[in-house]
């Protein structure tokens, strides 16, 4: 069972990587290589290959390049502010951001570090549909294009972002997340975060 699912995960990863190469003009091997060289500072917090083990620090792997470069852009332009990330992004050029994005998008996703409660595993699927999470982030909450992957993301990070959108304090380019979160009950936010953080990326 465990064996089978991890084989599937590798296959899905390969498929995603190959698809990504087809779709994204910037996803060339040379860009990925250039991004890897630049990534040393990033992985200090975001973990090897962008798989974070630090609560509150998001994993970067498993996102499409577009989602990664968009957030770097948001930090550089001051749309999102963070004591660690703002100075990191401030001096990056668009090309450097694209290369970093190409690299992290090509990395494999590690299994989740979080174990959701049995109760929330039961409630999660219905809630993520009712609150429209699956509409944009996809049926398996893996994200697509600029829409970030949620499955297996750090619990504390999910919690702070969802609360931020709900409180209108988290930057939201087109207002989609703010709008979606306005319907979410405060008491459902920890349930969503717990369920999603424990969800395997597959």
């Amino acid at each position: 069972m465990f064996q089978a699912s991890s084989t599937k995960q590798v296959a899905a990863g390969l498929l995603a990587a190959a698809t990504f190469l087809v779709f994204t003009p910037s996803g060339r091997a040379s860009d990925i290589e250039a991004g890897k060289t630049l990534s040393q500072t990033c992985v200090a917090c975001h973990g090897p290959g962008g798989n974070s083990i630090i609560p509150g620090t998001p994993s970067i792997s498993g996102n499409a390049a577009q989602a990664i470069s968009m957030q770097l852009y948001n930090y550089r332009e001051g749309n999102r502010k963070n004591a660690q990330m703002t100075p990191m992004a401030e001096n990056l050029t668009n090309r450097e951001m694209n290369n970093l994005a190409a690299y992290f998008a090509s990395e494999k996703v590690a299994p989740p570090t979080h174990q959701a409660s049995a109760e929330n595993i039961k409630l999660g699927p219905a809630l993520t549909q009712q609150y429209n999470c699956t509409q944009c982030h996809g049926p398996a909450l893996k994200g697509i294009q600029h829409i970030p992957r949620l499955a297996g993301q750090q619990y504390e990070y999910l919690l702070s972002q969802l609360q931020g959108f709900k409180a209108h304090t988290r930057y939201d380019m087109d207002g989609n997340m703010t709008s979606a979160m306005s319907a979410v009950k405060d008491t459902d936010i920890p349930i969503l975060a717990d369920y999603i953080a424990g969800l395997e990326y597959k």
């Binding site: 899905a12 498929l15 190959a18 698809t19 087809v22 779709f23 003009p25 910037s26 060339r28 577009q66 470069s69 968009m70 770097l72 852009y73 948001n74 332009e77 668009n94 090309r95 951001m97 694209n98 994005a101 039961k122 409630l123 699927p125 219905a126 009712q130 609150y131 429209n132 699956t134 509409q135 944009c136 996809g138 049926p139 398996a140 697509i144 294009q145 600029h146 829409i147 380019m173 087109d174 207002g175 989609n176 703010t178 709008s179 979606a180 306005s182 319907a183 979410v184």
Partner: protein, 406 residues
């Protein structure tokens, strides 16, 4: 590979377990989903976003673009992330605004070398941009500002002079970005979109307005326009022609987006009561009839997302292109089988009737069922003094030039 990817996504969708316990009270839908009928609509559609850091010219697949014999497309400028509306000054400076950034850039040419410079910073949704008689006008979310003698002050344009403020009555999510055009009467024409997909608009919403360039005095010239992000004046008749996005969530193939022409001031184009001139809205249709509004000059197709349009008046293209409309279509997200992502040509006869509607630049769409279906999204069209045209692509942050030679 693309097909395989789509199929595996579909398989996943069907493999999701259906939990039906704990039926909570239905939550109000988010703004973009407003008007959806969950029982009949597919729910895996999602909006697209530009690549915020742009795509470099070296990574643009120019060979995929198709134009008629004699025409040629090239990348004219890159490195302008989310490039949208364009305007050109008398000295040849090309100004570019955008919807999701905060800057206006100027592209200048010296000794055959083009350079891109940010001239205005910290703006709010500077999508509307027009140049006239030395002045650059910028329409942001809430206001229009004028920057006089702009081409002599690219290094320090200053804070500008406010023309009119208070143009975003709801200050919420919705169609709050503006398109700006200079009328033959010397006034600024712009849209205020419907705040939601489908709703009963307030007085100044879902309308095209015009403002005096110095006093800011406002007049409402067209109503019932859900959102128009492209307009131009016919070179001969001087009538205002404009593109309009129709509402979402009524189906794959309805309602059509519209190309409209204004024949009299204050004319009503139907929203929210009537779509494409002949489909009553399922909610608001009972409060007015289609007979009370002007039908479109041309139905453009459903969810094609027509944006910038310009009448061609240059001397480079063949004579039959004279006074044709060249129109950018941003392409759909609210549709399973995608459409658009191209530049279209609309030919009018001597009476202003549409004679032909055909592709001008295609090839951005690679697979109408894929996600994403395209690698570029045209936004606005601008004619250069030599008669070639530019069009912007906000997905890649690139501006292309289309030229012609026999």
């Amino acid at each position: 590979m693309q097909i395989k990817f789509a199929l595996s996504a579909l398989a996943l969708a069907f493999a999701m377990p259906a939990f039906s316990q704990t039926p909570a009270a239905p939550a109000p839908p988010p703004a973009w989903k407003q008007g959806i009928d969950n029982t009949t609509q597919p729910v895996t559609l999602h909006p697209f976003a530009p690549i915020m850091t742009g795509t470099e010219a070296k990574d643009i697949q120019l060979s995929k673009l198709k134009v008629a014999p004699g025409f040629k497309v090239e990348v004219w400028a890159d490195g302008i992330p989310t490039a949208r509306s364009m305007a050109i000054g008398e000295k040849g400076t090309v100004f570019v605004g955008n919807r999701v950034g905060k800057n206006v850039v100027a592209i200048t040419e010296k000794d055959g070398k083009r350079s891109v410079k940010i001239i205005l910073k910290g703006l709010d949704t500077p999508n509307g941009i027009v140049y006239s008689k030395g002045t650059l006008y910028v329409a942001e979310r809430t206001k229009i500002t004028r920057y006089d003698n702009i081409e002599a002050n690219l290094d320090n344009p200053g804070a500008g002079k406010l023309v009119v403020d208070g143009l975003d009555p709801t200050n919420g999510p919705g169609h709050n970005w503006k398109y700006l055009a200079m009328g033959p009467d010397g006034k600024l024409y712009f849209n205020i979109g419907s705040p939601e997909n489908i709703t009963m608009p307030l007085y100044n919403q879902a309308a095209i307005l015009r403002a005096d360039t110095t006093t800011g005095q406002l007049e409402r010239v067209a109503t019932g326009v859900r959102n128009s992000v492209g307009m131009d004046f016919h070179p001969v008749t001087k009538k205002l022609w404009f593109t309009e996005h129709a509402r979402d969530w009524m189906g794959e193939d309805i309602p059509n987006d519209e190309l409209n022409v204004l024949s009299k001031e204050g004319e009503n184009f139907g929203f929210p009561f009537c779509h494409q001139g002949d489909i009553p809205d399922p909610i608001y249709g009972k409060y007015d009839t289609c007979a009370n509004s002007t039908p479109p000059a041309l139905k453009l197709g459903a969810h094609v997302a027509p944006l910038g349009m310009k009448f061609y008046t240059g001397s480079m293209f063949p004579a039959e292109y004279q006074n044709n409309i060249l129109m950018a279509r941003h392409g759909s997200w609210n549709k399973t089988k995608k459409l658009g992502y191209d530049v279209m040509r609309v030919v009018l006869d001597a009476n202003g009737k549409v004679e032909k509607y055909e592709p001008f630049v295609t090839g951005f769409m690679t697979d109408d069922m894929a996600d994403p279906p395209m690698w570029g999204r045209p936004v606005d069209v601008l004619q250069l003094p030599d008669g070639s045209i530019l069009f912007s692509d906000d997905y890649n942050g690139v501006i292309y030039r289309v030229s012609y030679s026999k």
